[in-house]
């Protein structure tokens, strides 16, 4: 394996539960097999990194609306299909518990303990009025140059 083949860089654009799960299954699988993985969270995907119940003080009305409408971390995500007002998502979660398949929050904890580099997109943060302290710990912030620097050196690049 050459240096490039040891790296994977994922853009996580979506905040759908199913797509986020795919991203973290790929990322933790790769990191477990010794690859160095970077996950770059942009646009809707950024909300996966939000802490729960962060105060909305000092935000504009529109920023508070975004805050209210977007999921606060993995527990509030929904399936992209067959959500059925939440029933489909609940059903899928109960199946995963029964079959002992990792849930999204388990996978995110694993990602941190496997030293996966998690980067929050600065442009998206600005656009949605999300500050660094609203996001979980153990992450970095960075722009498109940060992403490209990682992606250029990776054999596997995906947009999810």
């Amino acid at each position: 394996m050459n240096e490039q083949q040891k790296k994977m860089t994922l853009i996580v654009f979506s905040n759908d539960m199913d797509k986020a799960m795919s991203a973290f299954i790929l990322a933790t699988g790769a990191a477990s097999s010794g690859m160095r993985v970077t996950m770059y969270f942009t646009f809707w995907g950024l909300s996966l990194l939000r802490k729960k119940d962060y105060s909305r003080q000092g935000k504009s009305l529109i920023e508070r609306m975004f805050g209210w409408l977007l999921p606060e971390g993995p527990d509030e995500t929904r399936l992209s299909k067959m959500n059925f007002l939440g029933a489909g998502t609940k059903m899928m979660k109960s199946i995963m518990r029964k079959k002992k398949i990792f849930q999204l929050n388990d996978l995110m904890d694993m990602a941190v303990s496997l030293d996966i580099k998690i980067v929050a997109c600065t442009t998206s943060m600005e656009m949605m009025g999300i500050k660094r302290e609203e996001l979980i710990d153990n992450i970095e912030v960075g722009g498109v140059a940060t992403y490209l620097g990682n992606a250029r050196e990776s054999a596997v690049n995906l947009f999810i």
Copy 2:
């Protein structure tokens, strides 16, 4: 061309007709020009590989619901946009017939005859309670390690 440039690996996550068509047009185009192509079907994409009218015997209620709600192979897929309760999808199919553009099932047959490697994701199979015998022939099953093994050696990696 080096070895890596001769390989393409696609993750097919979606079961939308339009995205599946894109995946198979890319895959068959690449295989026709001599590239070795692997398509890895995960999550909703898995339903593209389902046989028609497979018996639901021995399945739990929830698994039967999934079986009933998800498309059984390419003929039951729909457009991701402008579906209009099926009318948009029908219209698009009739246009393709008229203009002699390959339909999704034609493209899937081509993929098999071009020796494209088709892999069904084992985690997704477990999650949705889909057994090997419910899926079409000429495919393999594999997990994230199978995917990564192929992707690492491919110049072109996409998540569709």
Copy 3:
């Protein structure tokens, strides 16, 4: 940096405002840092390249319907989530104006001036009955072989 690391090739499949913005932010960011970028517009993404108010003369009824339903260029695109019948998209645009973040049409102008190669997918043009003269200037047309030729030589390949 080797030759491959200097190239990026993006498939733009979606015509959602948010995904199109991501594509152009990545593309212009890469081109600004000296990378050679190709953007390949296929399926719904093709409508991003449409001129405004192009005459529908000489088109079939179905082709005129597509023409009417699909956005004419970047100004008519919408968010993939939280569109709320257009209100969410308008809100997002007003935020971007206030915070001086580039809008989609600004990014597209930048892409042209940065010599990003923009390619319209011929199969998609045929499928939707879109002729070359309906699309903006400074672009090329090409099929899957054109895409693969570029992608094979690129370190960063994404499907958006």
